[in-house]
Structures are given as C-alpha cells and as structure tokens.
C-alpha cells in the first residue's frame, strides 16, 4: 500500500465519481444514493424547512414576538438597514466595518496558529496526548471564566501592562486597560476570538493529519524530498479542504457570533467594538421590545447572503492556491 499516490486520493466532490455501467446499475446507484441521504433530507424537511422559511419570511415583516399577527412590510426592513433608516443604517455601516476586520483577521490568524501547531504536535511523540488535551481546553472553558481570566490580564493594573512596564516598554502599556482604549479594544478581542477558535481548528487539522498514511511521507522522504516539499506536496493538498472548512467556520462566527463581544465589551468603549452579530442580538431582544424582530431577521439574512458570496470567492481562491 505504500505506492498510493496523492493524486488518486484527492477525489473531492467536484470530481465526478466514475459512472455505473449499465442502465440498470445506474438506477440502482441513483436509488442507493437517495436512500443514503434520505434521513438527512427528511430531518431537514421536518425541522429545518419551516423554521428557516418562517425566519426568512419574518425578514419581510414587523413583529414584536408577542402579537399573533405579523405586519407585512415588504423589503422595507432591508431598505432600512442598508440606507433608508437614519438610525439603523449608520449603526449598521459602523458595525459592518468592525465585523469585516474580525472576519479577515480571525480566520487568517487561526489558520496561521493552528496549522503549525497541529503539524508540530503530530510530529512529536512525547507528551502528544497531554498537549492535545491542553490545546482542547479553551473549547470547554466557560465564557465567564474566559472573561475573568482575560480581564485580570488586560485591565489597567493587569499583568500585560505590568510586564510591558517591567520590560521598559511602558509606552506600549495601556493606562485605561487594553479593552478600555478604543484603538486596542478590537484587536484585543480579535486575539481572544483566535484563542477560542484555535482548538477546533487544531482538532480538525489533527484529524486530517491522522488520515495521511505515514508510509507515504516516509517514502517521499526516502526519495529525498525536503520537509518543505513534503509539507507542500503531500500534506497541504490534504489539509486544504479542512482549511476551507476552518475559514468557513471563522467567517460564520465573525458574522453571527456575538457572545465574546457581549461578555467582554458589550460593544464598547463607546460603540467601538460593535459588530453585526451584536447588533442582531440587540435588535432581537433589547430594543425596548419594539417590533424589531423582522429587522433583526433581515440583518441575519443579509449576513447570510454576504457569507455565501464570500464562500464562493473563497472556494475559488483556495482552488487557485493548489
């Protein structure tokens, strides 16, 4: 089995599987295919179709969640968000700019940390499973503990400031704390988001690396391939789809996520870390219970459209990298 080559295994979805031969075999294959996806499709029809459809329909209505009737307003909610409402539209634009920064920085940094981490972890023998568990911990650490731990580090008399001053870099320290200064708050939150998304990314990379036949790498090394080449020619092509998945997850979290922003800064100081996910959350629950569920939904679906668009671009880009 050491003769397996990479090319043969890169059977991604866009490569058609070989067709069944005779017409009868073809019918059988179609039926088999549908039988295999049936449970997933059935579950979606039961649980997903109505809920998503109704959520989408809501984006064309005004509703406070209590009245039995919705008030249909057509595409007014979308118009309001994009330009028509003098109160919502500027808020949306500002939050969008912050979200964009998060959306670019978080997936990029996550991959930049998780990939080397996973490859290194995979290459060592001692302490491997211990470290794997340790890297997993941010994924299960509760939000409030995350908040407390980072707050003590980042506050005006926190350890980051003390460390900077001790190193003679007092000019870099933040007298208002790293979350209190508008220009450092967002970058700080980005780092915390990266910290919390690295575990899943590392886990995914590790499971991808586990699927690579070590004999193959060995064979390549015997053939005299440099480690760099092994990484580029053998490992990367296999990890590319995983990277795509990690980026997709990062984009999703950047667009819809709000928990860390809510806990750490609440969008502050002075609205400088407001993001679209947080705005959706506020519209859903904290607009004095006005009829803003429809607008919240419209914002959610705008983000859906943006994410799909980005995914398409992304898929192209990742394809080109190969």
């Amino acid at each position: 089995m050491t003769t397996l080559t990479v090319k043969d295994r890169a059977g991604r979805l866009r490569e058609e599987p070989p067709r069944g031969g005779r017409p009868r075999g073809r019918w059988k294959e179609i039926l088999t295919g549908w039988a295999f996806v049936l449970p997933a499709v059935a579950l979606f029809l039961v649980m997903g179709l109505y809920t998503i459809g109704s959520g989408f329909a809501l984006s064309f209505a005004k509703w406070n969640g209590f009245t039995p009737e919705w008030l249909w307003v057509g595409i007014q909610n979308y118009k309001d968000l994009l330009y028509a409402d003098p109160s919502l539209a500027p808020e949306m634009r500002r939050a969008a700019w912050n979200t964009l920064q998060v959306m670019i920085a978080v997936p990029a940094l996550t991959v930049a940390i998780a990939l080397p981490l996973a490859v290194t972890l995979n290459s060592i023998r001692r302490l491997r499973s211990l470290l794997r568990s340790v890297y997993f911990l941010p994924y299960v650490t509760s939000g409030i503990a995350v908040y407390y731990a980072w707050r003590y580090v980042l506050e005006p008399e926190g350890s980051v400031n003390l460390l900077l001053r001790a190193l003679g870099l007092g000019s870099l320290s933040q007298p208002q704390g790293f979350l209190g200064n508008p220009s450092t708050a967002l970058p700080t939150l980005i780092l915390i988001l990266v910290w919390s998304s690295v575990p899943v990314a590392t886990l995914l990379y590790l499971s991808g690396l586990q699927a690579i036949d070590p004999n193959m790498i060995e064979a390549a090394q015997i053939d005299g391939a440099a480690p760099r080449h092994v990484l580029r020619r053998i490992i990367w092509p296999l990890l590319r789809p995983i990277t795509a998945a990690i980026v997709l997850l990062g984009v999703r979290d950047a667009l819809h996520g709000f928990q860390i922003f809510l806990i750490m800064t609440g969008g502050g100081p002075g609205g400088h870390t407001d993001v679209l996910g947080l705005m959706t959350y506020r519209l859903s629950f904290f607009k004095g219970l006005a009829q803003t569920l429809g607008v919240a939904s419209a914002l959610g679906w705008l983000l859906f459209a943006a994410a799909l668009l980005l995914t398409l671009v992304n898929a192209r880009m990742l394809r080109r990298i190969r």
Partner: protein
C-alpha cells in the same frame, strides 16, 4: 389571528405525514388547571430576576398558609432568554398566570400585544393609595403614550386607561456613594455631601490628587447608557430646568443638545473626564460597584438598590456617604430630589384560567404585609409604601435613602417620564456618544451636541 398559525399547522402536519414521523408520542407538558378560584389551586408565575424569585417564594409560602392558594415561581434568566420564553409561550398558548416584568415599557408592549389582562377595574383607589405616589400610574396606558408611537404599533389598539400591570418594586437612579475614609484622607469632610456639581468635582479632584489610581469615580460604562441616564440626565435636569431639559430631546432640536445651553450642560458633564477610575469603560454595573466596595475608587454612582449590594460586597453603609447627583451652582434648580420610579411590575396573563386567584396574589404581594416579606429578602425597595414599617423592614440605611425622594415637584427628577423621548428611543446610542465625550475625550462638547442632535433626529425620523 391565526393566518400564520393555520399555515404552521398545515405545513407541520403535511411534513410530518410526508416523512412518516409520528413525533407526538412524547406528549406535551400538560398543565390543565381547575376552572374555579378556590383554595388548593396552584398559580404559576415567571420572573426575570433570580433574587426576586427567592423573595417571592418566601412570600408565596405565607400566602399559601393564609389562602390555601399555592404559587410556584420560576425564574427565567437572563433577560433575553426570559423574553424569548414569553414570546414562545405566547405563540404556543403556554403562558403562566402571572408575570413579573420591567415596568413602564415591557408591560405595556406585552399588554398591547394581547398577553396581559386589563386590571383597571380591579386596581381601585384603595389599592393605588398603598403605592408610592410617583409609581401609581405605572402600567397604565395613557393617551400620551398612544400618541407618540408609530402608527403600526400595537399601542394604537389599546383603550387609554387600560392597566396592564401593578407596580411591584421601585427605586431611583443617580445616587452617589462616597467612601468616607477616602474623603477624610483627601482632607474632606466625611459627613457633608457636596452641595453643588462644582463642589462634587472639587471633591473628586481632591481624592484623585491624593490617590490617582484609586481615588476616582467608578461607573459601569460597559453599559454605556449609565453615564447618560444616571449622571448626565439628573445633572442637566437641575441645570436647565424641566422644560429646557425636555426640549433637548424634542423633535427638530430647536433647543437641542447642540444649542448653547445644551453644549454648556455637556461641558459641565465632560469636566468629569480627569476623575474617572482607570478602565471604568470596561466594567459592568455590578463590577463598578464591587470595585468601589473594594476601595478601588472613591466615588460610585448607582441607584437605591446599590446600597444593599455594596453591603453584600463588604462595604457597610456607615462607611459611605450618599447624596443625589448635585445640581450645578448656576442652574435652575438649587435642590435636587429623585422621584422613585417603578422598576418592575406584575401582570396577569390574558390566558389564565385562574384570574381571581391571581388577582388575590397580586393584591397580597403588593400589600404592606406581602411587600414587606419581599423587601426583607430582596435588594429592591417595594413600590408599596411601607410607611412606619419601612425602617424595620428595610433597615435604617436603606430607609434613609428615601429622604431623597421628597422635594419640590418642579425640581424632582422623574426618570419614569419618557413622554418627551423619540418614540423609537434607544438609549444605547446616546449612551455611546456620551462615552466618546467622556471618558474617551474623542469629541468636544460642541461636537457631542451636534452628534446627539443627529442621533435624536434619526430616532424621530425613523418612526414616521
């Protein structure tokens, strides 16, 4: 109703049949109730405050022993989940009998949407007399409230005078707490509160000069509107007088925040800039109070509920000096008093099968006796006037805070009066603008005035 509902049912049934999933096997949560009000029945009540749930449970035990009616209290926290739970229950006919709600907004919205039963015939004058005077009309839909909302609001369907809730707890914001030891250390008197805004600033100056790190003012500006609601508004109210103050928010902004008077009030507020506790923008309301209790700041702004909270966090009331946000020396009002406003209120759902029993419970729990039981074990003042009992039930210190509730009517700051706000008022937006004025110093008072007028203008416009 039910166009949407019917669609749901048809769709769900069709889908269920199509897939052949008979999911009904597990049964619902089945809460059938007896129809007649009598002893031995059980009421269900939801609250969004955990501390109230504990207090209400105690009250419920006593209520049961007196009437035989049991009340089970369920606390649903945090606020967003509570709202979702009520929304879900409203759509699935699963509401409890009684709800505790945020007063003065949430109760009206839910009531106007058909969730709450009209109590105007039940809450008679005798009942109202029990309540603190400024809270009596909370929960009642007034013509004024109906007039200012957008045309498609459910408020428009409500008859003026409909009462959706009864005030339950009350309090006031804009109360300053000062650490007596720090006052003394800075050479200030620990017993005389500052008479004016300027004296307050001088006191802050002295304490921060004494201790730059731990001598400042703490306030939970992570919730940015606290600065605007608790400090700026009472200060500006006394500086400008009621009429000019309300004109700040008015449509068209003829006398808005950008007007000379408005800018002057913002300038007065921005003088706080050098005295904030470092990092106060990153703290939540509770955390700012805790920081103060731990001696990390010399002053703290909160409400009547802050006193008990500080005590629970290790700072006893005799170590703090309390006073309302003081009026600027050159202002309209030389005295300031805070009208207590209802913070939470109780409503009876329109779907209850136990309206009589629920009414009995509301009556009992807002009576001096019931309210006393609740007040003793929660941090909030009841909306019920406890009269002579107040001191024994609330403790001397909390009862003493009530002295700031009384004053000349024209100088009383009533935070419950929201009739002059834009109908789509969202306090986060002005809150953020004010944080950028101080402590962030990103805008001058003039720029802030312009920006505030823009924010208010946008909120007026977006509900046309």
């Amino acid at each position: 109703m039910t166009a949407a509902r019917k669609r749901t049912r048809i769709l769900a049934v069709a889908v269920t049949l199509a897939v052949g999933l008979t999911a009904a096997a597990c049964g619902g949560s089945g809460d059938e109730k007896a129809g007649t009000p009598a002893a031995g029945q059980t009421l269900k009540m939801w609250t969004f405050k955990r501390s109230h749930a504990d207090a209400l449970n105690k009250a419920a035990a006593q209520f049961k022993s007196e009437t035989g009616i049991a009340v089970t209290i369920e606390a649903v926290t945090p606020d967003d989940v509570f709202v979702s739970k009520v929304q879900g229950a409203a759509q699935t006919n699963g509401l409890p009998d009684v709800l505790e709600l945020h007063a003065g907004g949430e109760d009206l919205e839910m009531g106007a949407s058909g969730l709450l039963s009209d109590l105007s015939a039940d809450v008679n004058d005798a009942w109202k007399q029990r309540l603190l005077p400024t809270t009596r009309e909370t929960g009642v839909m007034t013509q004024q409230r109906i007039d200012i909302v957008a045309n498609d609001s459910p408020f428009k369907q409500v008859k003026p005078g409909t009462r959706f809730s009864v005030p339950f707890t009350a309090g006031a914001f804009g109360i300053v707490y000062a650490n007596k030891e720090k006052l003394k250390a800075a050479g200030l008197s620990a017993d005389t509160p500052p008479k004016t805004w300027e004296e307050f600033l001088d006191a802050l100056k002295a304490t921060t000069a004494k201790d730059p790190q731990q001598g400042g003012l703490s306030l939970g500006l992570k919730t940015s509107q606290t600065g605007f609601n608790w400090v700026y508004q009472p200060m500006a109210h006394s500086y400008l007088g009621k009429e000019k103050f309300q004109a700040l928010f008015a449509k068209g902004a003829a006398q808005g925040f950008g007007s000379p008077d408005g800018v002057k009030s913002l300038e007065l507020y921005s003088r706080l800039t050098p005295y904030w506790m470092p990092g106060t923008t990153t703290l939540g309301i509770d955390e700012a109070d805790i920081a103060f209790a731990q001696g990390k700041s010399a002053f703290d702004v909160g409400g009547t509920f802050t006193l008990a909270f500080l005590a629970q966090n290790g700072l006893s009331p005799d170590k703090v000096l309390t006073f309302p946000i003081p009026p600027p020396a050159e202002g309209q009002n030389k005295e300031i008093s805070m009208s207590p406003l209802a913070l939470t209120s109780l409503g009876i759902t329109s779907t209850t099968k136990n309206r009589e029993a629920a009414l009995k419970w509301l009556d009992w729990v807002t009576s001096p006796k019931g309210a006393g039981v609740v007040a003793k074990s929660s941090l909030d003042l009841p909306a019920t006037d406890l009269g002579a009992e107040a001191e024994s039930l609330l403790g001397a210190d909390l009862a003493a805070l009530q002295k700031y509730f009384t004053g000349a009517p024209e100088s009383a700051y009533d935070a419950a009066d929201v009739t002059f706000f834009p109908s789509d008022y969202d306090q986060v937006k002005p809150g953020d603008v004010m944080v950028r004025l101080t402590p962030l110093k990103e805008a001058t008072p003039e720029q802030t005035g312009t920006e505030m007028d823009k924010v208010m203008g946008a909120m007026w416009k977006s509900t046309q």
